[in-house]
Symmetry: C2
Subunit: 425 residues, 2 copies
Amino acid sequence: MNIPDLKLPRIVVIGGGFAGISFIKKLQKEPVQIVLFDRHNYHTFQPLLYQVSTAGLEPDSIAYPLRKIFRKNKNFHFKLAKVNRVDAEDKIIRTDIGSLSYDYLIIATGTRTNYFGNKSIEANSMPMKTISQALDIRSLMLQNIEAADRTEDPEKRRACLNFVIAGAGPTGVELAGALAEFRKGILMRDYPNLVENEMKVHLVEGGSRVLSPMSETASRNAQKSLQKLGVEVHLNTLVTNYDGYTVETRDGKKFKTMTFIWAAGVTGAPVQGLKAEEVLVAGNRFKVDRFNKIEGFDHIYALGDVAYMETPVYPKGHPQVAQPAIQQGRNLGENFKRMFRNKPLKEFKYYDKGTMATIGRNKAVVDVKKLSFGGAIAWFMWMFVHLWYLVGFRNRVITFFNWTYNYINYDRAARLIIRPFRRSS
Amino acid sequence: MNIPDLKLPRIVVIGGGFAGISFIKKLQKEPVQIVLFDRHNYHTFQPLLYQVSTAGLEPDSIAYPLRKIFRKNKNFHFKLAKVNRVDAEDKIIRTDIGSLSYDYLIIATGTRTNYFGNKSIEANSMPMKTISQALDIRSLMLQNIEAADRTEDPEKRRACLNFVIAGAGPTGVELAGALAEFRKGILMRDYPNLVENEMKVHLVEGGSRVLSPMSETASRNAQKSLQKLGVEVHLNTLVTNYDGYTVETRDGKKFKTMTFIWAAGVTGAPVQGLKAEEVLVAGNRFKVDRFNKIEGFDHIYALGDVAYMETPVYPKGHPQVAQPAIQQGRNLGENFKRMFRNKPLKEFKYYDKGTMATIGRNKAVVDVKKLSFGGAIAWFMWMFVHLWYLVGFRNRVITFFNWTYNYINYDRAARLIIRPFRRSS
């Protein structure tokens, strides 16, 4: 695959998400060769995916070319490829573009959508883990509103205007809020045939509160904000089936909908080849020690969402969000530097900067330390933090301008059906 | 299809391009019902499509939601649908979402790519008439550069880095220039394995000069600028075959390439149903009188690229570009107003504001009246005019920011392979 042999330690990184790029950034000036594999040629800022889905932002605002991040590093190589398996004994990875030996292997492959084995949901619902899936949701949502506008069949019209989201984690909550705002800002003004409250947004959650990883105060505030926006929140409600038309729940509820978004779970996306029974724990995550080394393997590390590390403060592992991934990437990068200098390594310690979620215009919730607050201040903090973490000056400016424009005009400029979504069945 | 019957004259417009929207804009305050059909829910600013292809702009910069343009007009209806045929006797159009009667029918369906009956070119080349085709070109271009970066086979590498464009009209010229700038600004910095002059851009033209609709001075200037940028211009060279790997020309040239873009011709995209032998002239355009009425039909009009009108100054019809379309739309709109007021109608008279094309950074050519000039002034004029004609304040700001950013940084931020292009064969 055309990687020069440099007689330098070769570090192979699989996955250009938060963990992978934070790790590589720390090693840019080290005498190592770094080869990054990803199936996309860009880094995705996943926390803002829902804004691509709801026509607020275009992909180039939340995606950043991976080659560009590290273009100043002459010993960095990017390969657009899918890694099929690891051969740990020979220290080789097998990909769809050939094999490559490594000295150190960093697995930062993140998670994928978890359907919990439910085939009907997997076949018919819309997941939202990649930009292309987010664009599919955007197209489908707009196509269904167009279909509602032209049909004279009241039942079809209702199904087209019914939006059901499963899972009230940050993704589900933010998506539900954005859809409710779309209804308010766009539906009434663009579609003279439609009436605002004909469009319904249902948020269906198996647990007993929204945003369960956050504080109870945040959950309460978020739920109140959602309901104020007109989102119908159904707690303790487990979805059991979706045939493409009717969502069924365990307690017998039925929602007729043409748009069912599945944000109810993720599971690790580990690389194959390391014996599963030895290294994978619940949630398909690699069990790692305090230095992110996969237990039982030398030279193989896991970072971020796909890593499972027990610490005194987090005896059940860290939350699968951006911050632990970024911090683990940095810590491992620093540890590699220490290792090359024969210095003692540092255990990973997660510094919890807080959690936040936005619900809509002037509405967000923030937990920091023991504090929990909501409202406009939380919303400004949310915006500031997300702009701050976006990669690249340009993406920040474009996103900031779009947010300002959308805020002033109650608009979503990217409501474009560029590629109509067609179910592949 | 859920269109209210208002006892107002119903004007059905097919196509939301320059002609269609200019026409409707003139009638917003008239007591008429307007129904616009388009296969997309947005207006496309076609002159900047090539910037979407070459990763300079995202779709939302050059597309504008059609519903939004006319949202203040309560008697305006948009339908996302494909019009299959016209039944002129009964004054009905047949679409994939049902039939609708009209009092007046405006056909503004534009053109589609013309392969001149060549099946191999149609099957294997990349056309660029829609945003989704432009995104395909972007993906394919980036995929092929990635493939070149990883292959160790020198012949495959050459084919991946060879870009061939057929047709040196404005589209072909602008695309060739943008690809050459991509090579200069991105290739060398993002791809340490590749050498700048390994990437070749060939512009192949059947005629004897580039930009043949412009002045000879403009052609000369444009060709010089292209060559300075490293584009290889092949004049008097007709492409006869492309099997997906080798472009063959009538004079025996062969170009091995994985990316062959077809910008060598368009033909009218008329609506079916009006007897072809009576109304269509060469180039599949509807023969119209000086009021854009299709000859032989009452109440049916054609506008823009799909209309063919002979005038003393333009005895062979008007050029198929934005300005005649915009001006015809406006004139017809004004004539409808006059008609409703029993005033005499005005013949269409094309006011030629000039022609322009950009080649790259600080390089453009402009013909105005008898004047022809190039260089940085022409380039600034080109930018100003294109920003001016973009629909919407937001799209202008986003485009302007992206251009400024790209100019300063020699960058193309949207070099993202969101949906990999796969040949459907």
